[in-house]
């Protein structure tokens, strides 16, 4: 199983289960593959784990969509967990519906929904055949990477609520959060860039073809009427390139000039304008065919560079805040009735009901007697914590287990996390991380080129204004830093791609420079350096026999609790069978009969052990699960938070080059484990999110360049305050706070290699600059001496671009190989 699969869907469990129940494959659910018992619902020869699955199966086969089951064996999502638990009354509210719909005219409507459960080709097929289940659906289209579905439907025949309920009944419950109703990013920007590039490429190729006769004609065999005709056609082709494709370069250049800054687009625009003006002059005066092929080619290459530069990870979001996770509506309880209200309208004193897997949206006091709250979303702690009646539950906690009732004590916007998030410091604008290297080069480069053009003009002026103008424009043309502008996107783009393959996903190319320049690295502890769980569960007690392993695994397979999953993972090689009479007591444990032995796995209170024995003391961190066979205690599984494998080694490496800090919200009981890697005074514990943020600010105002690695929303402020904030996550596609980069936890040990590659990338960029300067100097020699012909320009300019791009990609890949990343 891998961490990309959203834990919200049932698939992680399902996969494990399929692997575990090989003993009796005939008793698995025909829809979702979960194990079944004889007593479970049956249709013909087929068994189902629950009525939800049976209903979906019947619905699909009745609408001749039974082929769904031939695409994948048991592709369905288990409905046992959430059948009928979702309520969507709030979608009947016209205001909500209006905000959700992309388009609506009373008859037709279009909506885009995020469906995290989409995980295979069967899902796509089923969701795109919705119109067969529900004739009012006109079209549904899935975007697999973003896990989004766009549906057009007849509003007069089907309400949004009915549509969402249909999806939910199939197991594809759309995730409706606070930011679902916010404005979606505009897709037209990406389209515009593509169109600009396509147009430039089209013009480049065609003008090149038209220019060939002229280039190859060394004896004047083609008549002047053809030269003129070719010139005019080229001009017609090139004008849209100048006006449309190159427009954004002019805009950036103009904008930076007005701010009295020097952007690389300034000399580029200068070059493009010089090329175009000179070509018009040549063609109109019939003195030549102009440089229009060079101009179109230049714009084409530059736009490709820009596409590379803006390429990013579509499936990842680097801008998440609490709104991406908080539900749109909550259930308010008043007396015996429940009512759905907008999450933002919940007020102090309201009673709210929160079901298994839902988030608490505001700080609240627990009314129900007990609850298990998972704060992984807030703090990165994997283990749910127990709360008793009267305890305060912070907003952002996820309830696991039974439905609980709470009384709200603070408004949503006043709740601890949200108020922290909305505070001014957290909102600080991310500085523009555009490449500083390019900017400083652009400044000197532009000045140099302008100076050289002026000198050339002056030197040629005695020969007449005309030839002085011609040579001066030739200088501007040939000095156009196209190759220079391509170096950075292709070098950093390649580095980004290599890092992405190793599960470090950068937000944009500027982050590469930030990584290279940092001198200080700050780590969060829990969830970043240590991980509760993965490989961390061990059995305390006499070693288990094969039969005992069988008993434990069979029962543990029936539970989705993280502890059970860890146990199953540990007992990887054990066999399993279907237990009888399984009862799960959420938050406490699970009970069942396997091979006539009553097996219990659960908490110490539930099992009923006598505390006091030193070996039985609750583990320092992480949870524990006791095991009894027929009421006799056998021992316990302990889940320890562990330093991620190989991270110690990397910390020792980085300690030589960077100053390392550990900044943790926890107490210092684990301090001893880190003194090998951090200096004593750089281990800082008991930090609140605000303190973390202030601490980062202090370091930064001391002139340090910071990389911060953290997870969870409690680190969000610190991540924002650093030069490069890296969100460490074990489920890259799901929970991450706003950051500059997202790193998979298991790749944390590669940090020295990532930083090494970034440093090498900067050197490669400098080398690329030197190569492009060499080309520029060769060209300038011809330009200054008045020998720059269109043919020479048409060869020199693409050649320099191709050389630089080839060098950048090859050298970066070589550097990545040296760092052990490929």
């Amino acid at each position: 199983m891998n961490r990309f699969e959203d834990a919200e869907g049932g698939e992680t469990l399902e996969g494990t289960t399929i692997a575990g129940v090989e003993a009796s494959p005939e008793l698995s659910c025909a829809h979702c593959g979960d194990p079944c018992r004889e007593s479970d619902p049956k249709l013909g020869e087929k068994y189902f784990c629950c009525h939800g699955c049976l209903t979906v199966y019947r619905m699909l086969t009745e609408h001749k969509l039974g082929n769904y089951y031939q695409l994948n064996a048991q592709p369905g999502l288990s409905l046992r967990q959430h059948s009928g638990s979702e309520k969507f009354e709030f979608l009947d509210d016209p205001e909500t519906a209006r905000r959700l719909l992309d388009f609506s005219d009373g008859k037709l409507a279009r909506v885009q929904l995020y469906v995290p459960q989409v995980y295979c080709s069967s899902c796509i097929w089923l969701l795109e055949n919705l119109y067969r289940l529900q004739p009012a659906v006109l079209e549904s289209k899935v975007d697999f990477v973003k896990k989004e579905i766009a549906i057009s439907f007849r509003e007069d025949k089907l309400t949004l609520r009915e549509l969402v309920e249909l999806l939910a009944s199939l197991g594809y419950t759309p995730s409706l959060t606070l930011d679902t109703t916010e404005k979606k990013p505009d897709r037209r920007i990406g389209r515009r860039l593509l169109l600009q590039t396509g147009l430039a490429g089209f013009a480049f190729a065609n003008i090149m073809l038209l220019s060939f006769p002229d280039y190859l004609d060394t004896v004047g065999a083609i008549g002047s009427e053809f030269t003129r005709f070719f010139g005019v056609v080229s001009l017609v082709l090139a004008t849209p390139v100048f006006l449309y494709s190159a427009a954004d370069f002019f805009k950036t250049a103009w904008g930076s000039l007005r701010r009295r800054q020097m952007h690389l687009d300034v000399p580029i625009s200068l070059g493009i304008i010089a090329l175009f003006a000179r070509s018009i002059y040549d063609i109109v005066t019939a003195t030549g065919t102009g440089f229009l092929d060079s101009m179109s080619g230049l714009v084409f290459f530059l736009l490709i560079g820009r596409i590379i530069q803006t390429r990013t990870y579509r499936a990842l979001s680097f801008d998440r805040d609490y709104k991406s996770y908080f539900p749109l509506y909550v259930t308010r309880v008043s007396g015996d009735t429940t009512q759905q209200v907008a999450a933002t309208n919940v007020t102090v004193g309201d009673r709210i009901a929160v079901r298994n897997g839902e988030l608490v949206v505001a700080d609240a006091i627990l009314i129900s007697s007990e609850a298990s709250i998972d704060y992984s979303f807030v703090s990165g702690e994997a283990e749910p914590v127990r709360r008793k009646s009267g305890d305060l539950v912070y907003a952002g906690g996820r309830v696991s287990g039974d439905r609980v009732e709470l009384e709200v004590v603070k408004d949503v916007s006043q709740s601890y996390l949200v108020s922290l998030w909305n505070s001014q410091q957290f909102k600080r604008e991310r500085e523009s991380k555009a490449s500083q290297l390019a900017e400083s080069v652009a400044r000197y480069f532009t000045a140099g080129v302008l100076l050289l053009a002026a000198i050339t003009f002056a030197a040629w002026f005695p020969q007449g204004l005309n030839s002085a103008l011609l040579t001066a424009t030739a200088v501007l043309i040939v000095a156009c830093p196209c190759a220079l502008a391509l170096t950075i996107p292709f070098t950093y783009g390649t580095a980004m791609q290599v890092m992405g393959a190793r599960e470090l996903y950068l937000r944009n190319q500027g982050v590469v420079e930030g990584l290279a320049k940092a001198d200080t690295i700050v780590f969060d502890k829990t969830g970043t350096l240590t991980v509760g769980g993965s490989g961390g569960v061990e059995f305390e007690g006499e070693a288990l026999t094969a039969r005992e392993r069988h008993l434990i695994k069979s029962l543990a397979l029936q539970s989705i609790h993280p502890m059970s999953r860890q146990i199953v993972e540990m007992l990887d090689h054990a066999t399993a069978s279907i237990p009888q009479g399984v009862t799960e007591n959420p938050g406490r444990g699970i009970l069942g009969r396997v091979a006539n032995v009553e097996v219990k796995i659960g908490s110490r209170e539930w099992i009923g052990t006598e505390p006091g024995n030193a070996a039985d003391a609750a583990p320092e961190s992480g949870g524990e699960a006791w095991v009894t066979f027929d009421g006799v205690i056998r021992g316990r599984f302990v889940m320890r938070s562990q330093v991620r494998p190989d991270v110690g080694q990397s910390l020792s490496t980085m300690r030589n080059t960077h100053s390392l800090w550990l900044l943790s919200g926890d107490g210092d009981r684990e301090k001893a484990r880190f003194t090998d890697y951090f200096e004593d005074d750089k281990l800082i514990f008991r930090q609140s999110p605000q303190q973390k943020l202030d601490f980062m600010d202090r370091l930064r105002s001391g002139g340090k360049r910071l990389i911060m690695l953290g997870d969870g929303l409690n680190d969000a402020g610190a991540l924002a305050a650093s030069d490069v904030g890296i969100a460490v996550s074990d489920r890259v596609a799901s929970f991450t706070p706003a950051s500059d980069a997202i790193l998979a936890g298991e790749s944390l040990w590669r940090m020295p290699a990532f930083i090494g590659l970034s440093k090498r990338a900067i050197k490669i960029v400098v080398a690329g600059f030197i190569i492009s300067f060499v080309y520029n100097f060769v060209g300038l020699y011809f330009a200054v001496t008045g020998q720059l012909s269109p043919l020479l320009a048409a060869i020199l300019m693409p050649l320099s671009s191709v050389t630089v791009v080839g060098f950048a990609v090859a050298a970066t890949r070589l550097a990545a190989k040296r760092e052990g990343l490929i």
């Binding site: 990309f4 055949n129 697999f144 169109l195 065609n206 990870y313 579509r314 992405g500």
Partner: protein, 68 residues
């Protein structure tokens, strides 16, 4: 020689046709999602998979690696 004017005109016409196709393709959003169509095509309209389950099992893996 004047045939060349005609030929160049004709060739440009064809080229412009392709440019128009490109513009249409971009406008209709074909470059925005390049992953899903590749998964969609292995499933026939009636939901049958040529070559049985093999193709489908490959796609299960897809879900983990395609973040772009």
């Amino acid at each position: 020689m004047s045939a060349i004017f005609l030929l160049i005109g004709a060739s440009l016409l064809v080229a412009v046709g392709f440019l128009a196709l490109f513009v249409w393709a971009v406008r209709s959003g074909q470059y925005e999602d390049t992953v899903t169509p590749s998964m969609r095509m292995v499933v026939d309209d009636d939901g049958a998979v040529p070559g049985g389950q093999h193709g489908a099992s490959v796609q299960r893996k897809d879900s983990s690696n395609n973040l772009e």
